[in-house]
């Protein structure tokens, strides 16, 4: 017998029913009558949507995974554009030595690269960055990441990451959804579909952005694909309303809003009695959650309660939106029970053209993330949150060992080997996994393909990537498609 889906309708419904409906909502008209009218069976039946999929009464209620989890939450720092591992983590003296030499033909034969039509360079490019070993683990980190260098004993570097697609938008989709095709659910959607969220006041899957522009592909990166929209990522915005339509319309006070929602609730309850449709209870619960979000989201982004020392640790200046501020918000979100928090920071696309050179532009983007990401790991650790929180760092791919000649020499997209790092949540700290060859072109050991990374993240969360499925267009889909092997060396 296959294990029952973690998304067990019965338990989800009964929880949702009790917590949201009877304890919170049944204060209006007809509450008592309803309590006797609706048994769980009834709710179960009436709310299973067409297609026999998931029930709709509070799908975000937390539920257990397939086996005990090592990590409860994920903070995914997505470096949009593809950071150069060769300038940051993957130290290749041989490449420096061979700087300017043509790349061995055997390496690039049969390979496809982005911008194949343009005359990008085929000469090896050694890094000009100074590398040093750090911490007890002796991990190599370049001088561009001085803060990150301090946390190497708390993180696991994986140098052998590999992907399939070499254009930004499909590659980002691939990293987020396991497919380059649009319309598949993102990792955060799968995770919240599988586990729900501990927070009943804030969204379970939250997306924050920083950098000069949004990530390529936009909202599909955190879309729920064919899963219900309940599971799509909710952007928490740096300006204006933190969540779309969070603010009560101008001229309506909080008290009036409460009176409005109370009246909607009571009339909806009345209709629920009249029609017997349990779906109305879901809607009532949704309005209550919306109302709670109206107060909890502003509280979330208000950093007044954070100490001077904390703000300094992250390097946060006042209220300006920044990656560092988003890192702190990510900590606050997981503290409040959000399951999956994803931060995007652009722009790492260092081809060498204007605004994307490997010199000052690259230094700038490194500076923008370095202190915040290191502070996040340190802060989570100091608060005892790191053991339950998996931090993931990486882009959609890395950069080529060859230089690319534009205004300056940059690097092209590279999918065969790039570096990601992980911290907390049951990963094994202070090690490096997956050596690459002496030019940094391909892994020579422990290749960590995107599907394997997905399988491992799911595993840490207590989910079996082969069992978390959703039937769509006649097929049981999963995040890892038909692939995915556990990266056992990554596990503590």
């Amino acid at each position: 017998m296959p294990a029952p889906s973690p998304f067990d309708p019965a338990s989800c419904l009964s929880q949702a029913t009790r917590r949201h409906f009877f304890s919170r909502c049944a204060v209006g008209l007809g509450g008592i009558a309803l309590a006797s009218m609706f048994g769980d069976r009834k709710l179960l039946g009436a709310t299973t949507p067409a297609g026999g999929g998931s029930p709709l009464v509070n799908p975000m209620a937390p539920h257990p995974g397939h086996f005990p989890a090592r990590a409860k939450n994920v903070i995914y720092l997505f470096m949009a554009g593809g950071p150069s591992q060769l300038e940051l983590f993957d130290y290749k003296p041989k490449l420096i030595e061979l700087n300017g030499q043509p790349v061995p033909a055997s390496l690039i034969e049969g390979k496809r690269f982005a911008f194949m039509d343009s005359s990008h360079g085929t000469k090896l490019l050694g890094t000009r960055r100074a590398f040093q070993q750090h911490g007890r683990s002796g991990a190599w980190v370049s001088d561009l990441f001085p803060h990150t260098a301090k946390i190497v004993d708390d993180i696991t570097l994986v140098h052998s990451c590999a992907a399939n697609l070499f254009n930004h938008a499909p590659a980002k989709l691939f990293m987020n959804t396991g497919s380059g095709q649009f319309g598949r659910p993102s990792m955060g959607s799968w995770v919240t579909y599988g586990l729900g969220s501990e927070s009943q006041n804030l969204p379970g899957f939250v997306v924050l952005q920083s950098g000069p522009r949004g990530p390529r592909g936009g909202a599909v990166n955190w879309g729920s694909g064919f899963l219900p929209t309940s599971f799509q990522g909710v952007p928490l915005r740096g300006n204006g309303d933190p969540i779309l339509n969070l603010a009560t319309p101008a001229g309506v006070s909080a008290a009036r809003q409460r009176q409005t929602i109370d009246a909607i609730r009571d009339l909806n309850l009345q209709r629920a009695v009249e029609t017997g449709d349990a779906e109305i209870h879901t809607r009532i619960a949704a309005y209550e959650m919306a109302s709670r979000m109206q107060s909890s989201a502003p509280e979330l982004i208000d950093l007044k309660g954070e100490s001077e020392a904390t703000l300094k640790l992250y390097g946060i200046e006042k209220d300006t939106p920044s990656f560092a501020r988003n890192c702190l918000l990510a900590r606050r979100l997981v503290e409040r029970g959000s399951r999956f928090v994803q931060l995007y920071h652009t722009n790492w696309d260092s081809h060498g053209g204007p605004g994307e050179n490997l010199q000052s532009d690259f230094e700038k983007v490194c500076r923008e993330v370095d202190q915040g990401q290191a502070a996040l790991v340190q802060d989570l650790k100091a608060r005892g949150l790191l053991k339950d929180t998996l931090v993931v760092w990486g882009g959609e791919f890395g950069r080529t060992p060859m230089g690319e000649n534009r205004d300056t020499t940059g690097r092209n997209h590279h999918i065969d080997a790039f570096t990601m790092w992980f911290a907390g949540g049951g990963t094994k700290p202070g090690i490096s996994i997956g050596e690459t060859d002496e030019l940094g072109f391909s892994p020579v050991a422990d290749r960590a393909h995107v599907h394997d990374i997905h399988a491992t993240i799911m595993h840490l969360l207590g989910l079996d990537h082969k069992k978390l499925t959703f039937r769509f267009q006649g097929r049981d889909f999963r995040l890892t498609d038909v692939h995915g092997e556990l990266l056992t060396k990554l596990l503590a």
């Binding site: 067409a50 982005a114 499909p170 339509n245 009339l267 017997g276 267009q473 097929r475």
Partner: protein
């Protein structure tokens, strides 16, 4: 659920029959195998190389060897897999509840008793039901014949009578009219329409109301939407750049075709191959936009051929989903695992679509775009914006005209000659009073080059004028003079071409008999009388819109892994009826909507909560939350703001700031002013990367691939949208004004008016009591809010009404 879990628990102990009980293969065993095994181990397919439709086949076995050893059930593969004790093979039936202990006991006993079976046992000849053309049988006999309004009801009632369930009573008349209005036009009935209907006591009052709705131009708008979901229609190119595209002419073609009840065969043939019809009209070419709704990747550095092929693959997959109800996409990389579809079948279809002119990078290619030189694009309210901007420039010029006059007067002959633009040179020769607007504008610009205010106004006008000049175009299919050579792609990878393929129909379906068939032949083949799928697939999707679930619940998978129809004979009756009615979709709509089945009340029935909790038997109607566009339309209609204009370029109703910056390329969203601010949701400009949030939050299709059914989620973000979105607040304000203006003088009459505007019915005493209590609260200062003014108070009441679950639900 519970029953089979118990059955599993009991297996270890039981599942045996007294050895003496004689088992007959034909009576006891074969029916079990037929019900549970033949789908994967029968005539249509042989998973694991095994057929189970004769005892001889079982003995012969499959990849894992013989299925049984006569006399030794414990050593028999068959028994071990149905018990789930085999080490390598999953418990059978695969991913289905295990067999009952009684069934297992019979199979065990049959094997132990020697596995006797008739020597002349015939193998199953039946194909999977969906590959056999629909047959029109007799109408089933029913006892309560008086209930039935038309043949549909016989099928539904016959099944209910078998299950000893009585159908639900008919919905009350107001609910029924609102239901039919929303289902047929996407708009709620006006209070006047409700009044007329209630006053009409003729026995055919409802049928006449249905006919009125079917004739409404809004019918096409309502039913275009699910079709556009299938067609993956959007107003942008998708992928990361997501540049805008013009293809709204195709959307308008769909609306118009549905309104004039273009027969479904023509409807489809024109969309798939209108360009190849003899003497193809412009309209028929516009229709081929169906297959130009593919995404275009304009990202730098791509391999254009890869994305040209992606678009062709999308056309094949869409063809499979939209017309065949098959998951063809599975065969892109390998032979279909469950259905009799090979990779060769897939690429034989691919070959039909691989011959059009467009490239993979969205560069304009001759023939791929159709222009409409007589028409101008821009937002539909461009004329009024232009007029406004022109007036603003004119006012400014006239106010400060004296300075221009002085400048002209001061010009020397030499200076006049040096003026650059011809228009300006000739204008200065004319007296200011006699100059027209164009001349004055040129003169003023030259006279006052540093006038910042003028420059701003003038730039705005120039921009609008430039928009006005943009040609209206639409994307169409155009065949290459020479077809491309098509091949299979190994593992679906376009860099690994395999064996060459030529255009052909999938082998399991009727052949295309034309020599060297093209796209037009493929389109016509769908309407071959022997075609088993086309009619079934479309009637099922239409049925699904009315009942929330298709007769085949897996509306996009009629294959062996799909769910079998709940009412197979009804599905076939509807399919054959569609053909008999010359593919008239309106006739089908009318038959469904006037059936007694459709007219039932949607109230939940406690007596069915165990036996039919999700309403598969249709012993009642279902409450269905409205689609995203209709959530908007209902609020627009209720508030009286709706501008019911049909068609035209997409419009830009307000959305929260910052939405467009989520994509890679920040695009502007200048909210439409004037009438375009209040158009139906169908016309909202749909950016694939950044869809309008009020649509996305209510599960609008994403337009990336064919969508045959939308999910219906129910989330806090929906609540925030209806409560706080500035345009919904604007609707509430308008509804409040309307209530105060038209709703009489007392709270009671106003509430009555407001309720009718939103849900078509008057409030109950409890409901109006609750809202009168709210009005009292609003008149009392609370926590910093002073007593609400009349408008404020009624705006809040209007917000309550627009937020009701009932308002956004078809009951």
């Amino acid at each position: 659920m519970l029953s089979w879990k118990h059955a599993v628990a009991g297996l270890a102990l039981t599942g045996t029959l007294p050895a003496a009980t004689p088992v007959d293969y034909l009576r006891d065993v074969k029916p079990v195998l037929a019900q549970h095994c033949y789908r994967c181990h029968g005539a249509s397919q042989q998973k694991g190389g095994l057929r189970a439709d004769t005892a001889a086949f079982l003995k012969e076995g499959g990849d894992a060897g013989s299925a049984f050893k006569a006399g030794k059930s414990e050593d028999s593969l068959l028994l071990r897999v149905i018990l789930g004790t085999h080490d390598d093979i999953a418990q059978m039936p695969y991913k289905k509840p295990p067999l009952t202990e009684a069934a297992i006991a019979k199979i065990r006993a049959w094997i132990d008793q020697g596995a006797a079976a008739p020597a002349n046992e015939e193998p199953e000849k039946d194909l999977h039901w969906a590959f056999v053309p629909p047959a029109r049988g007799e109408l089933p006999a029913v006892k309560q014949g008086g209930w039935a309004k038309n043949p549909i009801d016989h099928f539904i009632l016959a099944r209910l009578e078998t299950e000893k369930i009585a159908p639900a009573p008919a919905a009350d008349r107001v609910t029924l009219l609102r239901r039919a209005s929303l289902d047929l036009t996407g708009l709620p009935p006006t209070p006047a329409e409700v009044g007329t209907f209630l006053a009409d006591q003729a026995p055919d009052a409802y049928e006449r109301a249905v006919d009125r709705l079917l004739a409404s131009p809004h019918f096409g708008e309502r039913w275009a939407r699910p079709w556009l979901d299938v067609a993956r229609y959007a107003d942008s190119n998708g992928y990361s750049i997501d540049a805008p595209r013009q293809i709204w002419k195709y959307r308008d073609w769909v609306v118009a075709a549905l309104n004039r009840d273009l027969p479904y065969d023509q409807f489809v043939i024109e969309q798939l191959a209108g360009d190849l019809l003899p003497g193809a009209t412009t309209e028929q070419k516009v229709a081929t936009g169906f297959n130009r709704n593919t995404q275009i990747n304009q990202e730098g550095g791509i391999d254009p051929e890869q994305f040209r092929i992606e678009a062709v693959l999308d056309r094949v997959n869409t063809f499979g989903t939209a017309f065949l109800g098959l998951t063809l996409g599975c065969a892109q990389c390998h032979d279909h695992k469950f259905d009799p579809l090979t990779q060769k079948d897939y690429y034989s279809l691919y070959a039909f679509f691989n011959n059009t002119v467009e490239d993979g990078h969205g560069k304009s290619v001759p023939g791929g775009t159709l222009s409409f030189p007589g028409e101008k694009d821009g937002t539909a309210n461009l004329p009024s914006l232009l007029e406004e901007a022109r007036l603003a420039v004119e006012r400014h010029i006239n106010t400060h005209g004296g300075e221009a006059v002085a400048w002209m007067a001061g010009l020397s002959e030499q200076q006049r000659g040096k003026l650059r633009a011809n228009a300006l040179r000739s204008a200065v020769e004319i007296a200011w009073e006699k100059q027209d607007f164009r001349q004055r504008r040129a003169v003023f610009a030259a006279a006052k080059p540093d006038d910042a205010e003028f420059r701003a106004l003038n730039t705005k006008l120039t921009t609008l004028e430039r928009n006005e000049a943009r040609l209206v175009t639409t994307l169409v299919m155009q065949e290459l003079p020479q077809p491309r050579a098509s091949t299979l792609f190994i593992k679906g990878d376009f860099t690994r071409p395999g064996a060459p393929v030529t255009p052909a129909a999938p082998a399991i379906l009727p052949p295309i008999t034309v020599e060297k068939p093209n796209r037009l032949d493929l389109a016509r083949w769908l309407f071959d009388p022997a075609h088993p799928l086309t009619a079934r697939v479309v009637v099922n999707r239409i049925w699904q819109q009315y009942f929330g679930r298709g007769i085949v619940e897996t509306e996009n998978d009629f294959g062996t892994q799909g769910i079998a129809p709940t009412h197979p004979a009804l599905l076939d009756w509807l399919a054959t009826e569609l053909v008999a009615q010359h593919w008239s979709m309106k006739a089908l709509h009318r038959a469904i909507v006037t059936s007694a089945t459709y007219r039932q009340s949607s109230r939940a029935r406690p007596d069915l909560e165990i036996i039919d909790p999700v309403n598969r038997l249709l012993a009642r109607q279902s409450r269905l939350r409205l689609d995203a566009e209709l959530v908007r339309d209902v609020a627009l209609a209720g508030s009286g703001l709706l501008v019911p204009k049909l068609g035209g370029p997409p419009v830009y109703p307000p959305q929260p700031d910052g939405v467009m910056s989520l994509g890679q390329n920040r695009r502007s969203w200048t909210p439409s002013e004037g009438p375009d601010r209040y158009r139906r949701g169908l016309y909202t400009h749909f950016w694939r990367a950044t869809p309008h949030p009020a649509l996305a939050v209510f599960d609008a299709a994403d337009s990336f691939s064919a969508c045959t059914r939308r999910l219906r989620s129910n989330t806090p973000l929906q609540a925030l949208t209806l409560l706080n979105d500035r345009q919904f607040f604007e609707f509430a304000g308008a509804l409040a004004d309307r209530i105060v203006r038209e709703g009489g003088a007392t709270a009671a009459t106003r509430l009555d008016f407001g309720f009718k505007a939103c849900v078509a019915r008057p409030p109950t005493a409890t409901e109006s009591g609750r809202l009168i209590a709210l009005l009292k609260q609003l008149q009392t200062p609370v926590d910093g809010a002073s007593a609400a003014s009349e408008r404020e108070a009624w705006t809040i009441i209007a917000r309550v009404l627009l937020n009701l679950d009932e308002t956004i639900t078809r009951e």
